[in-house]
Symmetry: C2
Subunit: 199 residues, 2 copies
């Protein structure tokens, strides 16, 4: 695909990555930017800075405002919002499946559907049935894909993605990285990242 590339680094457990995932595709298309969806895990990165859970759980006032803010943002975008329990969720399996999915034409739809299930319908990603249901809704063979996701090669690919995110000094999700290495963090920086990518 011609045009500049923007890497979209995302972790399914991340709250603000939900509106970002819903917005990013159409905005990138309008800007003529090829958005490369790159799942990774925030857990090892948070652990490296001494966090054992989401900062929104560690800092309650900040967490309460984040949920309210996310609700407002989803309302403005006209996308459903329902606060998930538990939070954060283990997204290891969903991220592995996303890696497989993103080699297919329906991969981005899968990622959006996972975010919608989690933050729009409060479904639990730790339940394999949630992921299987999303795959089936997309007309895919859930059993075969879940099996491929558990392959050693695929597991290693996710570890490699997470290691690359750390190398890029990514510290949160969503993050956007341009071809010349500019790092933009947060749903609110999507427009600035697209602008940088096309300047």
């Amino acid at each position: 695909m011609a045009g500049p590339i923007l890497d979209f680094w995302f972790e399914f457990a991340s709250t603000y990555s939900y509106p970002a995932a819903m917005r990013a595709g159409p905005l990138a298309q309008d800007a003529g930017v090829h958005l490369r969806w790159r799942p990774f895990l925030l857990g090892p990165i948070f652990q490296a800075q001494g966090w054992t859970t989401s900062p929104f759980n560690l800092y309650p006032a900040k967490g309460r405002n984040m949920w309210r803010d996310l609700q407002r943002i989803c309302g403005d975008l006209g996308i459903p919002f329902e606060r998930p329990h538990p939070f954060p969720q283990s997204t290891l399996r969903a991220a592995r499946v996303a890696l497989v999915a993103l080699t297919q034409p329906w991969g981005e739809d899968f990622c959006r559907a996972i975010y919608r299930a989690e933050f729009g319908e409060a479904r639990n990603l730790e339940d394999t049935q949630t992921i299987a249901g999303v795959l089936e809704d997309l007309g895919q063979n859930a059993r075969a894909i879940l099996e491929r996701a558990q392959s050693t090669e695929n597991k290693e690919q996710l570890r490699a993605n997470t290691a690359e995110a750390q190398r890029l000094e990514i510290f949160g999700s969503p993050s956007f990285v341009t071809e010349d290495g500019e790092l933009f963090w947060g749903n609110d920086r999507l427009e600035a990242a697209l602008k940088w990518a096309t300047r």
Copy 2:
């Protein structure tokens, strides 16, 4: 003044409060919103969640990206940026003077000039001469105002502001609070706060 009121809670040590302070006045005026400038201290609030310095110092990758992000934002706004040393600065005296200044017609100009001195010119607010210089540039009697700022009544007013910020569950700067109690945090939420205030 007619029209809705939006409280603009700010701490001079806060990086993103610099572009917010530069943007807020004109945007509020355009929206027909009366912006009420309310200085407070983040120190006691950060300490209550176990932080002894800025989170940008506690989390180095996040901190490096914040400085770069702030530089990009200031570039887009066409306002000067120079990274201050030390960071964060003790802003106790500047906040006390701001309380006095904001009873005067030149109060908001004083606040903007303090932010510009700190983040646009890397001047040190811990040096009383910096604050005196800003006051003099505004044609004011620096000695008299610095003295008023140190009055018991004024010191208590700043403590009361900080206590009210805590009561409102403010956890960062800038924060915007509408008359019906909606809390918006961050320079990037200024537009949303103004929209909420006028809906």
